[in-house]
Structure formats: structure tokens, C-alpha cells
């Protein structure tokens, strides 16, 4: 099954390579991986979507913790979380179909961010299902180009992701019990 992990990593050269390399080396398939800054200086946050059963993901989490630059890992798969993907889609929009495209944009509450006489660039955010259905509706109208960011995820509620600074070192104990 698909798991959504978030990892806080030190913002240092080569860290993305270390993480990506770990997935390759341990034979896990990444479906998507995004990296960006966080509210804390020096820390980046990765959202990783990966396929595997719970046991495999537990193992993967432990491997991630073996990387010296990985500070914290959490599996958001089984907790209430907001997930978002962003897509930019360039669609053909000659006068004959333009209104139709714009109606679809309206329904999905997407935005037009670039206009030419023959095409539009549309920006849409939402969970993956919304984006996928949007793409399906647009497809017959002529998609010229598309790019998606990959998933971002954040757990609901007030508790921040980051553990207390002197917390349970590397979450090791949590990863250790099989029950």
C-alpha cells in the first residue's frame, strides 16, 4: 500500500542524494518526493510517497534514521492529514474550445496564470484525486504540457511535527518494538 512519510533533514549539500540513494540501494520505489524549507532554519522537509507494507515502511524508517542528516521521520499514512499536490497544465485553447476550458477551470476552482490566443496555463492545487479528475476532464480538450509537484503532507491538529530537541533520540525505540 502507499505510504506518505515526512522527513525533517538537515539542510546540507548532498542530503537529497543520500535519501534518494537509500531508496535505490534498499530497493524501495519512490512515487514522489518533494523537498522544501521549513519554519526552522537549517531544516528541510521531505514528503515521500512510497509503496510498501507496514513492515517494509517500518524498516525504511529505520534506514532513514541511520542517515546522520535525518532528524525526524513520521508516517502520516494512518493519521488524519492534509495532502496537497500542485499541477500546472498548458492546454490548447483556440477560440472554439476556450469557453469550455474556462468553465472547467471554474468548477475546479483552478486558476489561469498565462494566456495566449491559442493556449492557457492553468494552475490547480488539491489532493491527488481532485487533480487527477481535473486532468481527465481536460484531456479531451488537448493538454500540451503538464507538471506536478508531487505530494505535500501535514498532519491535522495543533501539534507540530518536530519532536522536542532532547527527545527520544532518533525515534529509535519507537521503531524497535514489533507489537
Amino acid at each position: 500500500m502507499r505510504h506518505t512519510l515526512v522527513a525533517l533533514v538537515e539542510d546540507k549539500p548532498g542530503v537529497l542524494n543520500r535519501v534518494a540513494s537509500l531508496f535505490r540501494r534498499r530497493a524501495f520505489n519512490i512515487e514522489s518526493l518533494t523537498v522544501g524549507h521549513t519554519e526552522q532554519p537549517g531544516l528541510s522537509r521531505m514528503t515521500i510517497v512510497v509503496d510498501g507494507d507496514d513492515v517494509a515502511i517500518e524498516r525504511l524508517t529505520a534506514y532513514l534514521y541511520k542517515l546522520v542528516n535525518v532528524v525526524h521521520v513520521e508516517d502520516l499514512t494512518h493519521v488524519p492529514a492534509v495532502t496537497r499536490d500542485l499541477a500546472m497544465i498548458k492546454v490548447a485553447a483556440p477560440p472554439e474550445t476556450r469557453t469550455q476550458v474556462m468553465q472547467v477551470v471554474d468548477v475546479y476552482r483552478a486558476r489561469i496564470v498565462d494566456v495566449t490566443t491559442q493556449s492557457l496555463i492553468i494552475e490547480v492545487t488539491g489532493d491527488e484525486e481532485k487533480i487527477e479528475s481535473f486532468v481527465e476532464v481536460l484531456r479531451p480538450l488537448g493538454i500540451l504540457e503538464m507538471v506536478r509537484t508531487g505530494l505535500l503532507a501535514m498532519s491535522r491538529g495543533g501539534a507540530p511535527l518536530y519532536p522536542p530537541p532532547n527527545g527520544n533520540g532518533n525515534g529509535h525505540h519507537a521503531a524497535a518494538s514489533a507489537d
Binding site: 540513494s21 513492515v55 546522520v68 525505540h173
Partner: protein, 572 residues
């Protein structure tokens, strides 16, 4: 005070207590070498950087301290790779320092530029590329800290030449190192220890599986007390040899592919496995589907990623093994498992003693004889280092260790060529130890050039070449599984006696068992490294054997060819 990067390297090494480094110079690490002359450090010039890496590893394994090796950029660094991977697989605390091209040339395929941090990413515990002298001091301290703490391992620091040459204001600081993403847990959780004790009290056939973690955490005494008080037999992994005295009544010997048959049988019958600092390697478990089917499993390890990796366990306890066992000992009651212990004793019927006696009395020299005699004549007190192959397994089987840190072998990576350089490193770490390198004719030739290093450094190791004229272990697989088609395994060797002599060293040759004692005696009495060419039976095999992936209890046993001849000298 203003210091160059090269000076920062040596000042930090001095503060870390480094007395010896193994290495090889070149353009990209010249500044470090130049500065070296101003510091009280011994440098061992090797003949190939692989040798430096294995020496640093052998040094670390023999002493428990961090071993250090250095090389230049490009080919120097790539030559280290096998040694780094070897240290990684066996959790050996080591630091590797490589020179890198001037930082502004990095990425332009400069002369002797190689992406060393890229290459070594999966075979180091951590690595660094340093391009600014200002970062160097902190990085080096972190490197040593990471190498020796938690689950130890190799750390590589790749230092651009300009970072070695440039100066900065720098003072060594010994403030504690804090790394946000690296905080190994040393203390076990008490409730898990309680849970383990409950499981233990319910067990009738418990077994301790002791690995290298016992040695790395220095938990030998705790292990012994645990085993004795709970009355539980102890089996060791290949790298756990020495963690528990071989002559102890509760000692079972080695488990796994070439382990003792009764040990593997006992594992299959056990109802509770206590895995202490071992990692359920495939060479230890055989077929995972049929492994220890009746046993609940408790796994103690410092590395959380080992828990549930190969074998699903019922309880995983993360922590430093010594601290964990101490916590157990605070609550562990006296127990009695006599019935189980006696049962295992009956399984021992077919023992290693009889295995050696099954060897046909045809006057030929067998490797088992050599190792067995080496054990007897050295009183079991030698520091034994092996290469990889049949001789390694025979040495594991027939040289019995009562003391820890007297056994060094490449287990995880199985690196041929490891033996001689690792023995040199071990001898430099422990000059008072009697060091024997037991090597094969094949593996010895991979790093035999290090004889020259031994000669130049005046390091005395005794090299026992178990010369069977074959890449024996591969030949054995060909015999068992490929219909005796000996593709690329017969091997011609140079005259090893002359080779030793060409290095100004002593060479001896032994054909018959009667000559073994004299040769060993002469080696022990001779100053300087001695090479003994033991001409052993060519087509002998290591028994027993669990074929790769087979069930642990389905072992190939030595075919009985001759009536049993009991001789007093083979009693063990």
C-alpha cells in the same frame, strides 16, 4: 591561532589519540603529508591503498580504537574502496582521509578527480566533502565521534587540496558534539527488559546467539554472567568468536553455514532465541522460512535498523548491549535448564573432534591438522587473523578462543586479501600479541605486496599459507553443486618461500604433519615476519555445510571414508 588545514588535520588526530596512520601519498594529499613531519605520529607506508584500509581496520578490531587510513584523490581513493566496504559490513570504527582536487576544479573532471563521497556513500556510515578550511576542524571531530559511537563504522573525509593549504584561526575545542540527526540510544527501555524476562521465564529451551556486538560494546563479562545465572547455552557467530570462552561448559561453538551441526540443530529446536549484538545474516540463518520455527525471538542491538530486518522478532530492544545486559542482570534470577543443556550434549555426538579424526590417515597434511596444531602449540593464545575461504572456516572451527579480541576475520564482505594487511594492523595495535595470519594461497596473493610493508616497518607477523593449489572454497562449491567442473579455480602460485626471502623475510615449507610443530616453533622464535607454506590436501572440503538458502538443519556432513582412528593429540 592561524593554522593550515593540514595542521588542523594532525592536531585533531593527536587530540583523538591517534598514534598510527596507514597511507599512501599523492598530489592531492601532499600538504597533509608535508605537515605530518611536525607531529609525533607513526606513518605506515603501504604498497596498495587497499592494504592501508585493511590495516586500519585490523588495528581497530585488535585495539577497539579508531583506525585511520589516508590516500590521495582519484586512484588512491578508489583503491581504498574494498577496505571501506569491509569495515562497513563488520562495523569497524575507522576514519578515512582522502585528498581531493582543488575545490574550484571539482566537477570539471580534473586530473585524478573522482567523486569519492559519491562512490563511498553506501559503504560508509557517513562521509564529508570539505572544501573550506573553516569547516575542517568540526568535520574531523564529528568523523571520529560518528566512527566510534553507536554502531561503529567507517567515516570518510574528502579534503580539497586548497582546504589543506589555506589557513584559518582555529583552536581545538572539546565541547561535546551535538548532531541533530545522530543520537544513538544507549539505554534500553526498562519495560522491554521486564517483558523479555517474562518471556525468558516461560522458556524451556532458550539459546543465546552472541555476535560481534558483544565485543564492540565490551559486554563479555555481562554475557558470561547472564549465561551462567540463567543457565543458557551460548552459540556464537563467525564474528562473535571470542565473545564467550570456547572452553566454557555452556559454550556451543559457531552457528551457521559452516557452524557446528549440533548448534544449528539446537537453534531449530529452541523455543527462545536471545540474539545479542548479531544481525541474522543469511549465512547464519539458512532458509528464513524454516529458521528456528518454534522459537520466540528477542533481539538486542544498538542499531534499530537491524531489528526485524531479516528475521521478524517478538521483542526488539535497542541499546548498547553492555548497558542492556547490565539492566537484565539487575533482575535476572538463577535458572536451571539442565534438561535442555543435556539434550544438546547428546546432539554433540558427531563432533568436530570426530570430524578431524575422520580424515584418512594417508600421511597427507590436512588444513584441519595445521590449525588444530597451531592452536595447541600457541596455547590458544595467539591473535589469529584470517583471509577468506576454506582456511577461514577451518580456522574458525579448529582454533578455539577463550579470550576476546584474539580473532579477526572479514565476515560480512568476505574480502579476500584482508588477512595479511589486517594482521599487520593488528600487530601494530598490539605489539605484544603473537599474531598469526592464516591465509589461502589465492587470497594471500591479492595483497602479498604488504610483506614488503611488514619488512620495512619491522613488523612481525606469522603467515600460515594453507596452500591447496585451489581457490578452495569456490572449488568446493563446484564439487558440490557444479559437478566437479573446476572452472578457474586451480591456481598456480609462486614459490612462497623464495617470495618471503626476496623480501628479506623467512620462508618455510611444510609437507607432512610431523613437520608442523617445528615450523610453528621456528616461526615463533624468528625475529621478523615468517611465511610458512603449508602444502595441504588439495581437494579437501569444509564440513559440515548448509548449502546457501537451505534449511539450517540440513547440513552436508563429511562422508565417512575410513575407520575412526583415535589419537590422543586430536582430543579437544
Amino acid at each position: 591561532m592561524k593554522r593550515t588545514g593540514a595542521q588542523i588535520v594532525w592536531e585533531t588526530l593527536m587530540r583523538e589519540g591517534v598514534e598510527v596512520v596507514f597511507g599512501y601519498p599523492g598530489g592531492a594529499n601532499l600538504p597533509i603529508y608535508d605537515a605530518m613531519l611536525d607531529y609525533p605520529v607513526r606513518h605506515v607506508l603501504v604498497r596498495h591503498e587497499q592494504g592501508a584500509a585493511h590495516m586500519a581496520d585490523g588495528y581497530a578490531r585488535a585495539s577497539g580504537r579508531v583506525g585511520v587510513a589516508m590516500a590521495t584523490s582519484g586512484p588512491g581513493a578508489t583503491n581504498l574502496v574494498t577496505g571501506i566496504a569491509t569495515a562497513m559490513m563488520d562495523s569497524s570504527p575507522t576514519v578515512f582521509l582522502t585528498g581531493q582536487v582543488v575545490s574550484k576544479f571539482i566537477g570539471y573532471d580534473a586530473f585524478q578527480e573522482t567523486d569519492v563521497t559519491g562512490i563511498t556513500l553506501p559503504i560508509t556510515k557517513h562521509n564529508y566533502l570539505v572544501t573550506r578550511v573553516e569547516e575542517l576542524g568540526d568535520v574531523l571531530r564529528e568523523a571520529f565521534y560518528i566512527a566510534r559511537t553507536g554502531r561503529p563504522g567507517p567515516v570518510l573525509v574528502d579534503i580539497a587540496k586548497d582546504a589543506q593549504q589555506n589557513s584559518t584561526d582555529w583552536e581545538y575545542s572539546d565541547r561535546p558534539i551535538q548532531l541533530r540527526g545522530y543520537r544513538p540510544n544507549r539505554h534500553p527501555l526498562s519495560r522491554q527488559v521486564e517483558q523479555a524476562l517474562e518471556m525468558l521465564s516461560a522458556a524451556r529451551k532458550p539459546l543465546i546467539l552472541a555476535g560481534r556486538g558483544v565485543l564492540l560494546s565490551g559486554a563479555m563479562r555481562e554475557l558470561r554472567e547472564f549465561a551462567e545465572r540463567a543457565h543458557i547455552p551460548v552459540a556464537v557467530t563467525l564474528l562473535g568468536i571470542g565473545a564467550f570462552p570456547a572452553s566454557h561448559p555452556l559454550s556451543l561453538g559457531m552457528m551457521g553455514m559452516h557452524g557446528e551441526a549440533w548448534v544449528n540443530q539446537a537453534i531449530q529446536e529452541s523455543d527462545l532465541l536471545l540474539a545479542f549484538g548479531m544481525r541474522f545474516d543469511d549465512r547464519v540463518t539458512g532458509n528464513l522460512k524454516t529458521y528456528a520455527p518454534n522459537a520466540r525471538k528477542i533481539h538486542l542491538d544498538i542499531d534499530p535498523a537491524e531489528i526485524n530486518k531479516n528475521v521478524r522478532v517478538d521483542l526488539g530492544i535497542v541499546g548498547d548491549l553492555r548497558e542492556s545486559l547490565q539492566e537484565f542482570l539487575d533482575h535476572l534470577p538463577q535458572m536451571d535448564h539442565s534438561e535442555w543443556v543435556e539434550h544438546i550434549n547428546t546432539l554433540k555426538g558427531e563432533s568436530a573432534v570426530r570430524d578431524i579424526q575422520y580424515l584418512p590417515p594417508d600421511g597427507h597434511l590436512y588444513a584441519a591438522h595445521v590449525i588444530h596444531d597451531l592452536w595447541r602449540y600457541t596455547g590458544g593464545n595467539a591473535l589469529v587473523v584470517t583471509d577468506v575461504g576454506q582456511h577461514q572456516m577451518w580456522t574458525a572451527q579448529y582454533y578455539r578462543h577463550d579470550q576476546p579480541f584474539q580473532w579477526i576475520t572479514s565476515g560480512g564482505l568476505g574480502t579476500m586479501g584482508f588477512g595479511l594487511p589486517a594482521a599487520i594492523g593488528a600487530k601494530i595495535a598490539r605489539p605484544d600479541a603473537e599474531v598469526w595470519a592464516v591465509v589461502g594461497d589465492g587470497g594471500f596473493q591479492m595483497t602479498a605486496a604488504e610483506l614488503s610493508t611488514a619488512a620495512q616497518e619491522g613488523v612481525k607477523v606469522n603467515v600460515a599459507i594453507i596452500n591447496n593449489g585451489f581457490l578452495g572454497m569456490v572449488r568446493q562449491w563446484q564439487e558440490f553443486f557444479y559437478d566437479r567442473r573446476y572452472a578457474a579455480t586451480p591456481m598456480r602460485s609462486p614459490d612462497f618461500v623464495k617470495l618471503a626471502e626476496a623480501h628479506g623475510l623467512t620462508g618455510l615449507r611444510v609437507w607432512r604433519r610431523e613437520e608442523v610443530f617445528d615450523a610453528i616453533q621456528r616461526a615463533r622464535e624468528t625475529d621478523g615476519t615468517v611465511v610458512i607454506d603449508f602444502r595441504v590436501e588439495q581437494e579437501d572440503s569444509v564440513y559440515p555445510m548448509v548449502p546457501a538458502g537451505a534449511d539450517l538443519h540440513n547440513m552436508i556432513r563429511r562422508p565417512v571414508r575410513n575407520p575412526l582412528v583415535e589419537t590422543a593429540q586430536d582430543e579437544m
